[in-house]
Symmetry: C2
Subunit: 441 residues, 2 copies
């Protein structure tokens, strides 16, 4: 087996980010909110030796026009901690990553729930640290205005310090439980945090033993300037969305460089771009599948997405013709418009197909045969574009089965993905060290 290995996590909230996925032939329309299906998905991912099952999160029903909203399969979802705790009991090895926002919650609650999930799962928890910026969420938490971006990141950094400090409340060997003497734990091995900072004041100690992993694995999803810096200082896995290998290599080098500058070992931070994976018998077959799932995106919401990407109202264009060449000037992102134009030219898409691509899933995608996708992934790994991927499924169960049953064996054949778990904790799967307790050596 070669030195450098891929890490694979599965993006599972929603189970597909593609807005047409729930309508795909053979799919489960309620997959996102059906425990039986979710159990089957995680068990298949574990059988394929995935590193982790990854739950994004939203603290609101997302704001969109009712015509789009009523078509969204994401309006009802399980809450991450309750779902992952349930799934911890039907799996043994796969990591369980929950997103938890630092904006509208309390560090004592967050520290406690992740510690509890880590204990219940035998050391498989990860915390995806996010800040919450959408005004719909702020209105669910008594705030008319949401925190500014910079303020949210400042609070997030302090929140991280408090949560990790609370996890270190007890030394790993604090609990004696000596029935004879009646001593349950050694009070010398309990630390009271007494944190008082700009945004947070938390006394501690946490009322739960130190997590199995010391700390659950720290995940970060930011791509902004403060997001990259926070990731470089704190993250052990980074979820990101580069458009292509060139962008990925730049991001990879930047974040690993910042981590090194912050005194960390770059290999203790894994970069895992999100990638839609569509496996076919041939490249044509895979592309046809993509067009088929794209075609299930409702045109009204699709055209709105295309208009945003173009920075111009696309609703008057002929849906079944090519993109007009005489687009009006835009003040919006030129990079974004250039991407649309390139895609239209490369794939010869009509306005409708373009719109449905943007309304469906327009991020990084690997579309091809098991062999071609595995080769692409190996290139990303070898050339410093990523340490693995956060896999987005186009539809389920078929799209997930295609990955676990066809792509993973090809990755294993190439020697870049494990054939079995060698450890039992998520840290062990990812090759990350167990943090020492800052208060007890």
């Amino acid at each position: 087996m070669s030195e450098k290995q891929l890490h694979l996590t599965a993006f599972m909230r929603p189970v597909s980010l593609h807005t047409g996925a729930w309508r795909y032939p053979g799919s489960y329309p309620d997959a996102n909110f059906n425990l039986t299906h979710l159990k089957s998905f995680i068990q298949k991912l574990e059988a394929a030796k995935f590193d982790a099952f990854f739950m994004a999160d939203h603290l609101a029903v997302l704001n969109m026009p009712v015509e789009a909203l009523k078509r969204s399969h994401t309006v009802t979802s399980f809450e991450p901690f309750t779902l992952l705790s349930a799934l911890s009991q039907v799996t043994e090895k796969i990591g369980l990553a929950a997103t938890a926002s630092t904006t509208y919650d309390e560090p004592y609650h967050i520290a406690r729930r992740f510690a509890s999930l880590d204990h219940l799962s035998g050391g498989r928890a990860a915390w995806n640290i996010v800040t919450t910026g959408n005004p719909e969420s702020s209105k669910n938490f008594g705030k008319d205005e949401h925190l500014q971006h910079g303020d949210r990141y400042k609070r997030a950094r302090e929140f991280y310090d408090v949560v990790t400090g609370l996890w270190d409340s007890f030394a790993d060997d604090a609990f004696i439980r000596d029935r004879e003497s009646g001593i349950f734990f050694d009070p010398e091995k309990l630390h009271v945090l007494n944190h008082k900072g700009d945004d947070l004041a938390v006394r501690g100690p946490l009322n739960i033993a130190r997590p199995v992993q010391g700390w659950p694995v720290i995940v970060q999803a930011g791509q902004s300037e403060p997001g990259r810096q926070l990731a470089a200082e704190t993250a052990e896995a980074v979820f990101c969305s580069p458009r292509d290998l060139a962008a990925a290599k730049a991001l990879y080098a930047d974040i690993k460089g910042r981590a090194e500058a912050a005194g960390r070992k770059p290999e203790h931070l894994k970069i895992l771009p999100a990638a839609l994976i569509i496996v076919g018998d041939s490249l044509e077959d895979a592309k046809a599948k993509r067009l088929a799932v794209d075609a299930l995106v409702h045109y009204d919401s699709a055209i709105a997405s295309l208009s945003v990407a173009l920075g111009a109202d696309a609703s008057g264009f002929d849906p079944d013709g090519p993109l007009p060449t005489d687009l009006p000037e835009t003040n919006a992102s030129h990079t974004s418009r250039a991407g649309v134009l390139k895609l239209a030219a490369d794939e010869g898409l009509t306005v409708r197909q373009l719109a449905q691509r943007y309304g469906g899933y327009s991020g990084l995608a690997f579309v091809g045969t098991p062999e071609s996708i595995a080769a692409e992934m190996e290139t990303w790994l070898r050339e410093g574009g990523s340490d693995g991927f956060t896999v987005v499924f186009p539809f389920l169960p078929q799209g997930l089965d295609d990955v676990t049953q066809r792509l993973v064996p090809e990755l294993q054949r190439r020697g870049i993905f494990r054939k079995d778990y060698t450890g039992s904790t998520l840290r062990e799967h990812l090759g990350l060290p167990r943090p020492t307790n800052r208060f007890f050596e």
Copy 2:
């Protein structure tokens, strides 16, 4: 089978409230924080057809002198939502009651987690609504001072209104999931709460379908004046701690009367006093077991508890003699001191034994044979003292096995406890109606 039936819930956080329990011969010293043990306990309780598994909660390591703290088996515990979600996957019928405070959390989070637990468990969730009054907790949430008692209850009432309103965000039949038309849900069946009150502002809607039970069962534990009133208006099960049948009957009549005055049916509110149950082969055997577990309470913390109960410093008394007859005057509760004096006289306890009773568990207890305890329970049921009990175990697993294997069959023989579940939700176990959606008929 007779008309009126007992309901039994098990008090499981900590697994025993008795402070000496973890030291008892044959006990599991780590039972409170060992998932394997907790799974085995809940499966035994389900096999015995208990209504629910009940988790109290604390948002801090409880404040006590280090000499007592280091002897406490409660300093490390699982967080309720993560534990109950995990246990939902190893059980099928038993209810799952979580305590969640309204003082340092957000109604959107609470509504969402209980809805998620209710869906994951197929309609078995209950919310024990509490307010948090101890300063140790407030300091873990950035507050130097805790809210005053009245203010906490005012916020709790509004919090309840918001949480139940959020649960009603979607009509029960909102989700269509029509693959053909692409309509996932009917937007006419989505309600935006738009709550703006004295303490809380929450827009909604909740991002999860209406709970299986409509609303999870509402539990209340208050005995104070505002606690009783809140219970009468909102609770469907009341956890309380009367000392004896006379006190229980008064409390029962008071709360049911208040419920009726609030326009509710008294039978839609179940009164379930907490009761320690110690089963023996004879009354003497059961009493000996109680003395044995009491004897495991450390004398230093025990004598402090006795001093509080007496309203006088007991540390200078002869531990192995009787309680002195010349107690100093007290400004503390005369009822409390009278209780100590009566107990000392009735059971002929030494100062040490008295102290260990107060330091161990001094609330309502049924101590006897399966037959005598079942008869007592039937009296409470028949005479309007309770609708069942919240069972506290003296030690585990033996004390739990004694209840499930010896007491429950005797209750079943008397026809006052189910031999099997007749429904699948906790509401069905308790005989409670499913709430209608306030926004959709």
